[in-house]
């Protein structure tokens, strides 16, 4: 298994390189940072000076090579719009994003799995219908709309929570709920389906016929087997989570990497975009690896395959 992990890690740089290349090409082809950066009254001397500083006077392949050379030294370049290195600028925002993504994912996972279990246990009864209906409704509600509703209700009507901003735990609640709402419905439905399918398996029937209680069968036989489908879904959804955090950060003025990324794209701040994309791609890749390893640990069948 160690070999498997090492092999996966060895592929990580290749993935990142491809991501970096795609990002670089798209950004460079759709706009020139100098135009966006300097005032509309810019002089040719200013354009020349800035172009030279950013190596924009070089042909595009050369620019990419310069970028790669710097990257090999762990250097993304200086941010065009902030003072300091691009990696530093991104790093300042990483904490906020991880907090939000962690809280959102945790909430979605705990509530989603709990909801899914409840649905499966009371299958086709009132609880199942209500939870499934809420889940489907939640899934079809756009984040920005849900965000506005939550702000209106909890901040403006009840005055329980702040409307936006970054700070203590109170500030985290609404953004985390909004982000969780993107994933939660799927967790409910996946968990529900997994448990219902497993309930028909022979080992469950055997367990019941041995005289084990329904609860005992659920906890010791069904749930451990239901973990894997939920985990593999989670692995796939890390990307959705990161995308969702971009919207959520904008609604709640949360100072995370997602908003930084959008802002940097608008300014064609290529070093910061590259550094942000690197962070996000690395997070997704490592999270997927973690999920795979967990699945192997949990399920011997995968380990042997």
């Amino acid at each position: 298994m160690a070999f498997y992990v090492l092999r996966r890690l060895a592929f990580l740089p290749l993935t990142l390189l491809l991501v970096a290349f795609a990002t670089f090409v798209v950004l460079r082809l759709t706009g020139n940072p100098v135009d966006i950066f300097l005032d509309i009254n810019r002089t040719p001397e200013q354009v020349a000076a800035l172009s030279q500083r950013l190596h924009l006077d070089q042909p595009l392949p050369m620019q990419f090579l310069i970028f790669l050379r710097d990257l090999a030294h762990g250097y993304f370049g200086e941010s065009l719009q902030f003072s300091g290195s691009a990696a530093g600028v991104v790093w300042q925002r990483v904490g906020a994003t991880l907090q939000l993504a962690g809280a959102g994912l945790g909430l979605a996972l705990v509530l989603g799995v709990a909801g899914g279990i409840a649905c499966a246990v009371w299958r086709d009864r009132a609880a199942d219908t209500v939870i499934s209906a809420v889940a489907v409704a939640g899934q079809s509600m756009p984040s920005f709309w849900l965000g506005m509703l939550l702000i209106e209700f909890f901040a403006l009507q009840l005055h329980w929570l702040p409307t936006s901003g970054y700070g203590d735990l109170k500030h985290l609640v609404l953004p985390a709920v909004t982000l969780a709402a993107i994933l939660l419905p799927n967790f409910v439905l996946i968990t529900r389906t997994a448990i219902i399918e497993l309930a028909g398996e022979q080992f469950v029937v055997t367990g019941r016929s041995k005289g084990l209680s329904r609860g005992r069968v659920l906890i010791t036989h069904i749930l451990p087997n239901a973990v894997n489908p939920v985990l593999s879904f989670l692995g796939i959804q890390i990307g959705t989570l990161m995308a969702g955090s971009i919207i959520t950060e904008t609604i709640y003025a949360w100072p995370g990497v997602g908003r930084l990324l959008i802002n940097s794209i608008f300014h064609r701040d290529v070093p910061v975009v590259e550094a942000s994309v690197f962070f996000i791609a690395t997070t997704i890749a490592l999270a997927n690896l973690l999920v795979d390893v967990l699945q192997m640990l949990i399920d011997p069948r995968i380990r042997r395959a």
Binding site: Q46, A155, H159, A253, G256
Partner: protein, 499 residues
């Protein structure tokens, strides 16, 4: 050796544990919800929005007020000693927030820094004709320009004066992360993407602010910004979305304050694309657009209709004799038919989304109105960077939407209809001549006369459809007094009092 990884890990994790609550000592705090947050505190770099933050800590030689009129700031008076030299007398007894006195050396240093092309100072062109700056004595500075330069004073109001000694001591990067100035507020903390925290400068030469702390928070989403105002988390918000004006006014806790900006929103033709070389066809399009309806329905009555010219009302050079064309779709259609217009010509309107108030909505309405007289108009929304690229290549298509600001002087907005401005392919020799003439005299009467004629040419030739002067909309809590919406979108907070 063994401890190092632990320390490194602690250093890595530190940002994860940091919180966004600024560490104000005590006292009253004014919180502002900013719409467009600057990306950097580096003076002159990147967006105009940074000027709003920088002018809290640093003063220019001359400052604008909310209406755009100029007032003495770090310069108390000035006079022309010859047509290309202006002498400035500086305010005495002013100190920077680190205690060092402000002198002529700081002015010379700041302006030289702006004029150095390697600095990459974005607003350099505002004072682009400056040739040299010299200190006559400790409190007198002469600025010499290459040519007669009538907009020097107005240009200087965008240039903040920075401390020479501080740059020499810590370097430009450190200045950007911890500015020092003579302004009404003193820098405390800057959290990119989140907030800018300042404390009142009790020794401010213009009178100390009436509250202790200033927190400028970024809230990019319009409805969240309004929510934070209504919830009482912020006392002032920028850029109230027009569709939320009523919500603010009916909240009982805040009001919208509006002032006209000097931004003229226009739709510019490319006259090199046939048949738009024909001024009659361009004029017909103008008749087809119901501007009062758009102003009422989309802009909710805020702002103004441009009167056949790019300038907004009251700006130096604005021509009071011109009137916007009335809405007359029948006449528009007839004019097009008479001119032999091919109604199958595709007319894409290129615009950015969210750059100007209701830009996309206005384009959609215009396209709809053009469709009604049979013109095949569509709306083509492009992202900002792509728009810039198209603009540089002068390939924005038949019609594109843009806002030009004049900042109170016709020179700044009229340049975009000259060949050198490179933003329209329409060329008129008389207009070109007048533009140069108006730039080459300091006589205001002469300049105004030239601009009046230039505006007349714009009205007759229709290089653009002149739409609206855009409003600047602030949400202001009933808990404060002394705040006014500003035409140039710079926050002026020294007169604000918390109730």
């Amino acid at each position: 050796m063994k401890r190092r990884p632990v320390l490194a890990l602690a250093a890595l994790l530190a940002p994860l544990l940091a919180t966004g609550v600024p560490a104000f000592a005590a006292g009253t705090t004014l919180t502002v919800g900013a719409a467009v947050f600057p990306d950097s505190l580096r003076p002159g770099v990147s967006s105009y929005a940074s000027l709003s933050l920088l002018q809290q800590t640093n003063d220019p030689l001359l400052a604008r007020d909310n209406r755009g009129d100029l007032h003495p700031a770090l310069a108390t008076s000035w006079e022309a000693i010859d047509p290309t030299t202006m002498r400035f007398h500086l305010r005495q007894g002013v100190t920077f927030s680190d205690g060092v006195p402000f002198t002529a050396d700081d002015v010379v240093f700041s302006i030289n820094r702006v004029m150095d092309p390697t600095t990459g100072y974005a607003y350099m062109s505002r004072i682009g004709q400056v040739q040299s700056t010299t200190a006559v004595d400790k409190y007198t500075v002469d600025i010499k320009t290459k040519t007669v330069f009538p907009t020097l004073l107005r240009g200087l109001s965008d240039i903040i004066i920075e401390p020479k000694h501080y740059y020499e001591k810590v370097g430009a990067d450190a200045v950007a992360s911890h500015p020092v100035g003579t302004g009404p507020f003193v820098f405390q903390e800057w959290v990119p993407g989140d907030n800018y925290a300042l404390t009142a400068n009790k020794n401010y030469w213009g009178g100390a602010p009436h509250f202790d702390n200033l927190l400028i928070r970024t809230i990019p989403d319009g409805s969240t910004r309004v929510a934070s105002l209504v919830a009482g988390e912020s006392q002032i918000i920028e850029e109230v979305p027009v569709d939320l004006i009523d919500q603010v006014n009916e909240s009982g806790s805040a009001k919208v304050d509006e002032i006209s900006t000097t931004v003229g929103l226009v739709l510019t033709f490319d006259p090199t694309i046939k048949p738009f070389d024909n001024p009659r066809i361009r004029e017909a399009f103008d008749y087809a657009i119901d501007k009062p309806l758009i102003l009422k329905q989309i802009l909710k009555g805020q702002g103004e209709i441009l009167q056949g010219q790019v300038l907004t009302k009251g700006v130096l050079g604005w021509n009071p004799d011109l009137k916007a064309r009335p809405y007359d779709p029948a006449k528009a259609r007839k004019m097009l038919q008479d001119a032999g217009y091919d109604f199958n010509t595709p007319v894409p309107i290129t615009t950015q989304n969210g750059k100007y108030v209701s830009d996309t909505d206005i384009c959609n309405a215009v396209a709809g109105m053009l469709n009604q007289i049979g013109v095949k108009a569509t709306v083509n929304i492009v992202e900002g960077g792509v728009f810039q690229q198209m603009s540089n290549a002068q390939k924005l298509g038949v019609l594109y939407m843009i806002g030009w600001y004049s900042l109170g002087d016709a020179d700044f907005a009229s340049v975009w209809y000259t060949k050198a401005g490179y933003r329209t392919k329409w060329v008129d020799p008389e207009y070109e001549q007048l533009f140069v003439a108006a730039r080459s005299t300091t006589s205001e009467a002469e300049r105004v006369k030239d601009y009046h004629r230039m505006m007349e040419i714009l009205d007759q030739q229709n290089p653009s459809i002149f739409l609206f002067g855009l409003p600047s909309l602030y949400g202001v809590s009933n808990d404060i007094t002394g705040f006014g919406a500003s035409a140039d979108k710079l926050l002026r907070l020294t007169q604000v009092r918390l109730k």
